[in-house]
Symmetry: D2
Subunit: 364 residues, 4 copies
Amino acid sequence: MSMNSFGHLFRVTTWGESHGPALGATVDGCPPNVPVDAAMLQQWLDKRKPGQNKFTTQRQEPDAVEILSGVFEGKTTGTPVQLMIRNTDQRSKDYGEIAQSFRPGHADYTYFTKYGNRDYRGGGRSSARETAARVAAGGLARAALGDGIEIKGYMVQMGDRKIDRSRFDWGEIKRNPFWVPDAKAAEDWAGYLDGLRKDHNSVGAVIEVVASGVPAGLGAPVYAKLDTDIAAAMMSINAVKAVEIGAGMSAAMLTGVENADEMRMGPDGVEFSSNHAGGILGGISTGQDIVCRFAVKPTSSILTPRKTVTKDGREIDLITKGRHDPCVGIRAVPVGEAMMACVILDHLLLHRGQIGTNQGKIDV
Amino acid sequence: MSMNSFGHLFRVTTWGESHGPALGATVDGCPPNVPVDAAMLQQWLDKRKPGQNKFTTQRQEPDAVEILSGVFEGKTTGTPVQLMIRNTDQRSKDYGEIAQSFRPGHADYTYFTKYGNRDYRGGGRSSARETAARVAAGGLARAALGDGIEIKGYMVQMGDRKIDRSRFDWGEIKRNPFWVPDAKAAEDWAGYLDGLRKDHNSVGAVIEVVASGVPAGLGAPVYAKLDTDIAAAMMSINAVKAVEIGAGMSAAMLTGVENADEMRMGPDGVEFSSNHAGGILGGISTGQDIVCRFAVKPTSSILTPRKTVTKDGREIDLITKGRHDPCVGIRAVPVGEAMMACVILDHLLLHRGQIGTNQGKIDV
Amino acid sequence: MSMNSFGHLFRVTTWGESHGPALGATVDGCPPNVPVDAAMLQQWLDKRKPGQNKFTTQRQEPDAVEILSGVFEGKTTGTPVQLMIRNTDQRSKDYGEIAQSFRPGHADYTYFTKYGNRDYRGGGRSSARETAARVAAGGLARAALGDGIEIKGYMVQMGDRKIDRSRFDWGEIKRNPFWVPDAKAAEDWAGYLDGLRKDHNSVGAVIEVVASGVPAGLGAPVYAKLDTDIAAAMMSINAVKAVEIGAGMSAAMLTGVENADEMRMGPDGVEFSSNHAGGILGGISTGQDIVCRFAVKPTSSILTPRKTVTKDGREIDLITKGRHDPCVGIRAVPVGEAMMACVILDHLLLHRGQIGTNQGKIDV
Amino acid sequence: MSMNSFGHLFRVTTWGESHGPALGATVDGCPPNVPVDAAMLQQWLDKRKPGQNKFTTQRQEPDAVEILSGVFEGKTTGTPVQLMIRNTDQRSKDYGEIAQSFRPGHADYTYFTKYGNRDYRGGGRSSARETAARVAAGGLARAALGDGIEIKGYMVQMGDRKIDRSRFDWGEIKRNPFWVPDAKAAEDWAGYLDGLRKDHNSVGAVIEVVASGVPAGLGAPVYAKLDTDIAAAMMSINAVKAVEIGAGMSAAMLTGVENADEMRMGPDGVEFSSNHAGGILGGISTGQDIVCRFAVKPTSSILTPRKTVTKDGREIDLITKGRHDPCVGIRAVPVGEAMMACVILDHLLLHRGQIGTNQGKIDV
């Protein structure tokens, strides 16, 4: 019942702070004999890595992952995999002001209220650096999943700018710094975000994550539904304020006639005419694409002064210096993918545990 | 790691099907010495009870809760509380068609795919009747929480109709069948929903749940955040497709300047100028109102024919007869309240466990 | 993290008190499509049922189990199975003295100290009646395990009387009231226990439980070892004070040369020359018989006066009237079997979840 | 539900192999503001450290613990504490024979059978080196517990040699290499074990661990009993085959008259005339000393040839070279203490969570 763990059978516990010596993920329950090495994980960490362009924090971190346990002769052993990432660019600045005051919209106040202490260096445990460990664990989950299941994330909204779905192009996602599948949007957003950044401001975003190839039957009633676990996974990411599955909030506007994803027989079995359900009915996968979206709030650390208070109750106007992302949603894309990979693998293992390949029968 | 359990220390496991002899909740971890009796729980069940007006299912169920264990001489003992609700109105109808086919937009298909079997009587385990057990457990959580924390739910949207927040009236909520805090909306929605019902259609809704009086400091990084657990709680309710905390999906449209809930000192400590955060920062409560919304999709069981398939792969057009809610979101209001009560109590216990009243110190 | 739950994937939560309306087990995670009905479970409950001879409590309880959920058309559905046993013979006696004082050697004092209250009627939650629910759950586990795995319990010691292993006879176990595999011991013990009973005394016992047919490979390092979970399972039974696996406490007296269960190839694979390990090495099953023993202390409720104190601090000498077992170890035999069945099934599901039938590979 | 985690609220996950770069413990749920540094933990690791005398393995490991997270400015923050111990003396020997064959009495065979692979270097995950991580975590638990609770372990038996309790001397424990509270036994055992070692043999042992100062009321029915969790904790230690609480296996020989720990009022409340219960009744602490014993089997890696088989089914006689403990029970003493510390702290937090300081009442 660890507060820093996620997953049922594929169980990820992250640890570490922004400015400590290292952070990482302790991953238990990974199937054995999964071929994996650090380079395979690094490709995903490189997507999340800071300092790659002017739209993300300028902190320079290689985010090099080391596998300390659980992998032997190039394959997982089935025992815990320790994934460690050293912090290298902890700037030796004076944290005086941040140490004494609470950034509005940030976890500074609540951590201090809860614990009676706070690691104020770069946000400590509440820093988005924690998500590097998730990406490493997600990389391991992907390795275990193999090639049959594909997980892709991308931005669909930044501030009040949304993508035009008629221009949707999978190939475009890797070509722009926003992981956006719409070339025109990418161009537009670059100017928009640059303006906000120069205005000492930041902005929110919506990320969509799609998992394809997920077999029907994953998930479980009533509290460990596949959508419940996806909602928890995404909401647990820093700065996320909402999670949608399929039609999401728009489901409220649909009628029953519209919402029914009608079914017909196709060459390989049941086919659906639409996917308002986002691939999940009654908490269990339908075999369609799993579709999830989540909203990320704007970075709270901005150079514009905001009213706040200090630990000793003084009222001040605070400017937060430092190296912060103008749109933290950008780097949330690989994090959302990683969480999706972990949830899907976890539910594959759960399903295999309870149901097996033989509709439940124990074969001894 | 039960798939049908919810909560960390205040742990609720629900059981039972729509048309079995009974359903209920096994609640473990309730604090001892909480004054409670069946009548105290019944008040909440009566809010969710079907058949109260033409906008909900006409199934007649008293939903009378019995306390089978864990309460002695009018108070909880600290051991498991078994809350049982007998099913009384299981209509002896012919389930033939439903038993052989899958309602589109319903869990029929996925349950069958997963388990290789299905209790087709009234949806079995996937029936919204399961939520009666949640409401009973939520009643117990409220009793344990005492009067200092108030939890209120209400509808804010039905189909494309939204409330006008300038007309928000807490007193109005109990006066109309929609639990809507806007008298004019209530009137409008009555006609709107009646029209849909007569058209053999149904519609979705958005419910908002607010918890007041929650102290600052509840919640925990990184995966057992207060908002993570609320998101999971709400997404686990039947037919829910999205969950928002505070600004929710709209957080994507805010800038950092707008989103900062600025802080000043008030007579009783820190005060916030706004609550975009919905009372939660970094997964931990701020002391402000906890604000959550969730979207409920339209009932999939409708009298309008929809294309589907049978177990043996025949294509049919299915009309779902029976007694179904035209807007299942209405009865989701007390369910959302119950889940919020369970989450808040659970996090109060977790906080007390790790931190105590003395900032962590163990006093032996 | 329920305090009244046991198991990882096959998860049993028991509830209920000795003198409440009912008690039971909420069982989650059972594989689907297991053929089961109440009669199949009843056979095991009948073994534990009180009042069958003069060596067990004279309380008359049919211990009839009802299946309230999770079974449809004679098979498990894969959703929670609620197993309820009504209490019928709660004698309406005056609990005055017990209510005000603490039986020495009993949980009276600790429950009151912990919870600040106590259901004193027949021991409330601490009554051995709770174990009826375990036996019901164990019956379900046996049904899921099928015929390939056999679990047998029996007494090997009562007081200072031990069985003579040279007379070990499986067939004898069912023929005597002590479930002892040694006819001569059964005869001897009858007189011995009758004497103790007439002396207003009670006595302890050792039970051995053997599981045959368990495949090699079940269990897991480091904290969910098969022996760890068996130790927890048995120690959680009322009145148990020790658990041994294989050589048990005697392992301390062995040398490494003696302790090595040497291995040779047999017609069906590896064979062992001995089984000091009790079928478990490194927390994982070897394919040999799983052998476990546990010690049960004497019943603390006896007619001989013992010194104790009352709730308000008075010193008294207490005689405990009522209907108590002179050797509670007798009825612990089916309970130990039930716990073993639950642990084995749970680990079969866990193994299937992480490893599958294909050495870990996910096949999608 | 991690297989490599232990504890409910104070949750320890260990990771790492004998010959990997490092091993450690990820500890979640530690109360905040506990003063701790590496030196405080090192004192306990130094007790377990190998190579200190001829009675333990000659592998030279400093077992220096590094705190990578969760401690800031000398105090715990309340977030995960990562405790890492680098492996430094992985001898670059040829593992050829061990890699291809299974040591009888060792986990080699079962790991390979389960996972289809095995890290054969020094036993990999099944090595007793894993217990170094437990000792580090136990040190943190002790720091959180403060001075009010004292936990002491010692050997009471080696092979067929038992201590003479009439010579019991707490002060003696630290003076001899066996942690035995009986100077005469220490002298005798030295010769006995040296003889076994020279004979290429090894031997088992019994360790007793006592926790003093534990308040009454810790523990919980029915499956998270204090004794259940202690039994699991101790049985999870490598090579342990039995666990006893209080009278342990001998409880079977007691009558109810003897077993009753009679109660009288003392100056500070209830006093007990004896402690057959080992400080636990009904799974809940009585306020007396918690007394636990566990048996450790002899080291299976010995220089005497034993019959076994190879991976490819050849029958061989195996001599296990390398640096092995002739009595692994010696170094199990600090491990048993560490596990006890973790269990006690965990149950203090659980008790505080459910019951608080006010008999359950939530004060908001």
